[in-house]
Amino acid sequence: MIDYTPKLPTGVGSIFGDVSLSSLSVPANVLWGLLLLIVVIVGVVTVILYYHWIRYGFGDRKVIMVQILYSLVVFFCLGAMLTSVISYA
């Protein structure tokens, strides 16, 4: 009886050997920490950007549109990240 176990291809130039995403295990605390770090960084950047937009671009229609677009996307991104972390944990 021949025992044959097919060897599955590991992709083009698999430099990490048999590592796959399914085997990655990150503690939930790390993700919470990363989320907090990103919130702080993006928060500081947002304050700086708003300062510049209000001080130098107040009343400019383009600046108002940019403020809305930037804020909406940041808000939804952070919301999605929070949902992912809660779901992961």
């Binding site: 083009v12 130039g13 995403l21 990363l34 950047v45 950007l49 130098y56 940041v74 992961y88």
Partner: protein, 188 residues
């Protein structure tokens, strides 16, 4: 809230910002960076998983969104630096605002009547097709040069500055004649 201190009676004629092409290079580079995780995933041998578990999908979503939001913030920092770089042409001055970084801003102004030379440069096929170029204004006295690159429709801006320059000189001449006439009459 006034952005700039204007003189009494001074009017803003035109505000010039950079051509949209100035934003394109930043956008292109950031788009490549945005796709980088996906390219790495496909080429570095991680793409062996036929289906990812829910937990792994949450992790991937979280990491990718984190990467995206950082690039998004960086894009708007670059956009702000480019957008706040502007020329303001009033009926008396040209105000050159140079925003080289978020915390690096320089404002210079030049009297329009002191302008000696205005030059417009549109170099290359792309510049001609898209209608942008560089405008260089030289003033008298210490031969100070004002330059604004990637300006849309530089010819129109040059014509506007020339018109304002002629009006300023005409006003100055009229004022001088009026002053001389008054001196003759009053004997002062």
């Amino acid at each position: 809230m006034p952005r700039l201190p204007l003189e009494p009676g001074e009017e803003i004629i035109m505000t010039c910002h950079k051509h949209w092409l100035a934003y394109v290079l930043n956008t292109f580079v950031l788009s490549i960076l945005l796709l980088l995780p996906y390219i790495a995933y496909r080429t570095l041998g991680f793409a062996t998983d036929v289906t990812l578990s829910d937990k792994t999908m949450d992790l991937v979503t979280f990491l990718y969104l984190g990467w995206f939001i950082i690039l998004w913030a960086y894009f708007f920092i670059a956009w702000t630096n480019i957008y706040l770089d502007e020329w303001i042409v009033t009926d008396r001055r040209i105000i050159d605002i140079d925003q080289t970084g978020l915390f690096h801003r320089s404002v210079s102004d030049f009297r329009i009547e002191k302008i000696q030379n205005i030059m417009v440069k549109e170099v290359g096929f792309v510049a001609h097709m898209l209608g942008y170029g560089t405008i260089i204004v030289e003033t008298a006295g210490e031969r100070i040069k004002l330059e604004f690159d990637t300006l849309p429709d530089p010819g129109k801006v040059r014509d506007l500055i020339s018109e304002c320059h002629d009006k300023c000189l005409a006003n100055l001449t009229n004022n001088t004649h009026n002053l001389e006439a008054r001196e003759l009459v009053t004997g002062d």
